[in-house]
């Protein structure tokens, strides 16, 4: 019997959801800074979004060490691209396609990179947002994408509230709304996140910050009401 764990190990340190949306000037992406070690929220300063070359931004969930390996591959790719020094450069579509090939080839050898990736970017005015889902190599493009729990909790919100030509402020508000739901409901989420934006001018990744949460629900005040004998 072929279990993927038998042939290709377990993930150890993992990141949770990444969300990406297109907005007026480019792409906005959000991810928290948590690296879980199983059920322990062990590392709290993991940067899960990185710029790639001049035109792309990559966000990853899943095994952090595999993400770091991918960054090395991409670093080499961009280096060789720059070495041509000829006015041509790899755009987000090309990087996305390259990543798909890498992920799919690894899965075919039963040695996957245990990640779900979100790749966004802008080149020559063209916005591109694509995602490679997990270690299988499935990939597609959309106006809003998410990985992991984000697919279940954030996408429905985005389907209702995303629209073309969001302003930067509206886009951030929308992402924060989604991240708040994930914070409440995803047990591997932590309250320390970054928002990244990529436009024709370049990439900016915000410093880490926290969302305001509210726990003052009446049901939380007297939790044992109605549970006789509990404390």
């Amino acid at each position: 019997m072929i279990f993927v764990e038998l042939l290709c190990r377990y993930p150890y340190v993992t990141g949770t959801s990444v969300i990406g949306i297109k907005y007026k000037d480019g792409i906005l992406m959000a991810a928290d800074m948590g690296g879980s070690y199983g059920s322990t929220l062990r590392y709290k300063s993991v940067e899960r979004m990185k710029p790639i070359g001049k035109h792309s931004l990559l966000g990853a969930s899943g095994e952090i060490s595999d993400f770091q390996e991918l960054l090395r591959y991409l670093d080499e790719l961009i280096l060789y691209d720059n070495m041509w020094d000829d006015g041509n450069s790899l755009g987000p579509k090309e990087v996305h396609s390259y990543l798909t090939r890498v992920m799919y080839n690894r899965r075919n050898k039963f040695n996957p990179l245990w990640n779900s990736l979100v790749l966004g970017g802008v080149k020559k005015g063209q916005k591109y947002l694509g995602t490679v889902v997990s270690m299988i190599g499935v990939h597609f493009e959309d106006n809003h994408v998410a990985t992991g729990f984000g697919n279940h909790l954030a996408r429905p919100i985005l389907r209702d509230e995303w629209h073309e030509n969001l302003s930067f402020e509206d886009g951030v508000k929308l992402l924060e709304k989604c991240m708040l739901v994930l914070l409440y409901r995803d047990r591997s989420a932590i309250n320390k996140l970054q928002i990244a934006k990529i436009t024709e001018e370049g990439t900016t990744i915000s410093p880490p910050y926290s969302l305001k949460t509210f726990w003052g629900f009446s049901a939380f005040k007297n939790p044992t009401l109605g549970a006789e004998g509990s404390w």
């Binding site: 041509w84 000829d86 006015g87 041509n88 390259y98 090939r101």
Partner: protein, 285 residues
């Protein structure tokens, strides 16, 4: 060039610092039938003279489509040209598969040049005996490159290679400043006139030349003989005697209506040179 004691191996330098085998390879290019290329901001046109061994055989294929956005014209050892075209096609399709994007022509020609250079530095190889005019599009617009057996490559606004190419080059040098903003039709017309310059006395007809275009949304493709004959008739590019700027217009337009087989082209305007070689070769495609 005369034989000397330094020309046996490609890996032997002459005292003057020359590699004679490489230079002899470039001679092979000069012996091939002419190929020319010219470009504007948006389009590139390649044209060449077709030679057939005899009336009974088909013409040498000299223009190859490498990808939707790149094509090459060759002059010299056509077998070498065919093999290099296969390499170029392979590189293009691999790049497309990995990056979902067309290979920039500037990168392809560098790869080709590096491949040619290898053959100038191995004792068990010989240089490729073919010159390639590569026409293609990338992010920065339309480009025309010439790749040499020596491993050098240059970008050109217009260029001609092969036998009697100097006549074409002279014409192109006179006209090249107009190419940048020329329309697609004008570019093709200039290409046909340049081809005519390389034909000494022979009448220009679509059976002896091939023309290909890429650019402005059009993928690289070879124009069919009927279209070419129409253009030849419309521009009244017939004999060697007519100066390039001289066009007769109306009279030729009526003839152009009759369709465009080579025989028709021969009756359209008299070049006055007896035209002993009219009529299509049996294997005209």
């Amino acid at each position: 060039m005369f034989r000397n004691q330094y020309d046996t191996d490609v890996t032997t330098w002459s005292p003057a610092g020359r590699l004679f085998q490489v230079e002899y390879a470039m001679e092979a290019v000069k012996q091939g039938s002419a190929a020319i290329g010219l470009r504007s901001m948006t389009h590139v046109v390649l044209a060449c003279v077709n030679k057939a061994n005899s009336e009974l055989s088909s013409h040498q294929k000299k223009i190859f489509k490498v990808d939707d956005h790149i094509g090459v014209a060759i002059a010299g050892l056509t077998a070498d040209g065919r093999v290099l075209s296969k390499y170029m096609r392979s590189e293009c399709i691999n790049y497309s598969f990995t990056y979902d994007s067309p290979l920039p022509v500037g990168r392809l020609v560098v790869q080709l040049a590096d491949k040619a250079q290898v053959c100038t530095q191995r004792s068990w190889k010989r240089p490729y005996g073919v010159g390639l005019l590569a026409a293609g599009l990338d992010e920065s617009g339309a480009h025309l490159y010439y790749n040499c057996p020596s491993g050098n490559y240059f970008e050109y606004q217009a260029f001609a290679i092969g036998s009697r190419s100097q006549a074409a080059k002279t014409y192109l040098e006179r006209r090249f400043e107009t190419f940048v903003n020329a329309s697609r039709e004008d570019l093709i017309k200039d290409a046909l006139i340049a081809i005519r310059e390389t034909l000494q006395g022979e009448r220009l007809k679509s059976s002896i030349c091939t023309v290909a275009v890429v650019g402005g949304g059009e993928p690289f493709h070879i124009l069919d003989p009927e279209t070419i004959q129409h253009l030849i008739d419309a521009f009244e590019i017939v004999g060697d005697e007519d100066p390039p700027a001289n066009e007769q217009g109306a009279a030729a337009a009526a003839d152009a209506e009759e369709g465009a087989t080579a025989e028709q082209g021969a009756t359209a305007g008299e070049g006055g040179d007896g035209a002993a070689d009219e009529g299509a070769a049996p294997m005209d495609i």
